[in-house]
Symmetry: C2
Subunit: 189 residues, 2 copies
């Protein structure tokens, strides 16, 4: 049962996501997560320090999605066009995981320590986006400002998307915010 | 020496600011701060848990400066006009404390725990600004988006202002960023 298999980490993440979406976070044990993934607790602890850790395992994938999309943008693309495309790519992927995202958010909202961690994650994401833009020739402070704007739009749209029961997709929420952003900027200092 | 006097907290803050600007943070003791303020250590500990706490004592004043400026804006002001005015008011006040700001920033940059605390402070400031805008009739998500933009501009401008040795004021840095913001927004999604 504990033999090495490919994608061990991904299997643990998937099992945890399923369980988090199905039941109360506090009632789920590491043993159950491991069992659902067909693995042992010991294997779980080779990848994660505790079950909370699994809630943040998507961090690297999220950062990569932003940097890769920006890196592959055409040279004529503006910072706003690059980050818009990145947001839309991320949103499309997230859309397939709405139930997990909803559950995850409610766990985080109930826990100040996890909120801080989420905030640090977003701060790091801003830096990753700024660096990706700089690699495309965007200068400072435009890179940092665009990056901060991007994570703000992502966070606000995400919070609306997981809380509301409406049929609007995450990308529709983000598009609305991108429009709002232009409206605010055009309204005069 | 420890009799009650008005503005005790402010005197401790001023004494600490002076010492932080003059010498190495690690070498300064609470006893020295209290002595400079003409007070006892015991009095210091009635207001602050430790000397780091003094670095964050301006938080309430900063939040108030933003909310009060927004609250007193004319009814026809746009969100961007309200936050611009608030930024300029805050910047003008900060300008008188550049040396302390510079020293404070270098202390925080060297300490991950203080960086987290600073980040939480900025997150709270965003919420305070959003609430002030909502009280003026701005709806969500415009209020949160404008608030996040405001703290992003404040943070980026502040970081440039304390690090660079140039003669540009904080307000000039912030005005540049406000212009950048409009340029980014106008460049098409």
């Amino acid at each position: 049962m504990s033999r090495w298999k490919p994608n061990t980490k991904e299997r643990l993440e998937r099992a945890a996501s399923e369980l988090f979406a199905e039941r109360d976070f506090d009632d789920i044990t590491v043993a159950e997560i491991a069992q659902r993934a067909g693995l042992t607790e010991r294997t779980f602890f080779r990848y994660f320090t505790d079950k909370r850790e699994v809630l943040f395992s998507g961090r690297q994938a999220l950062e990569d999605a932003f940097s890769d999309t920006i890196a592959s943008a055409t040279d004529s693309a503006t910072p706003l066009q690059m980050v818009t495309e990145a947001l839309m790519n991320v949103g499309e992927f997230m859309e397939t995981r709405r139930e997990f995202a909803r559950k995850r958010q409610s766990i985080i909202t109930a826990n100040p320590e996890l909120q801080e961690r989420e905030l640090l994650k977003m701060e790091h994401l801003s830096r990753v986006i700024a660096e990706a833009l700089i690699k495309k020739g965007v200068t400072e402070p435009t890179a940092s400002l665009s990056a901060n704007m991007t994570t703000a739009i992502f966070r606000i749209a995400f919070a609306e998307w997981v809380v509301t029961q409406d049929t609007m997709s995450l990308n529709e929420h983000m598009k609305n915010l991108l429009d709002q952003f232009s409206t605010i900027a055009a309204s005069g200092q």
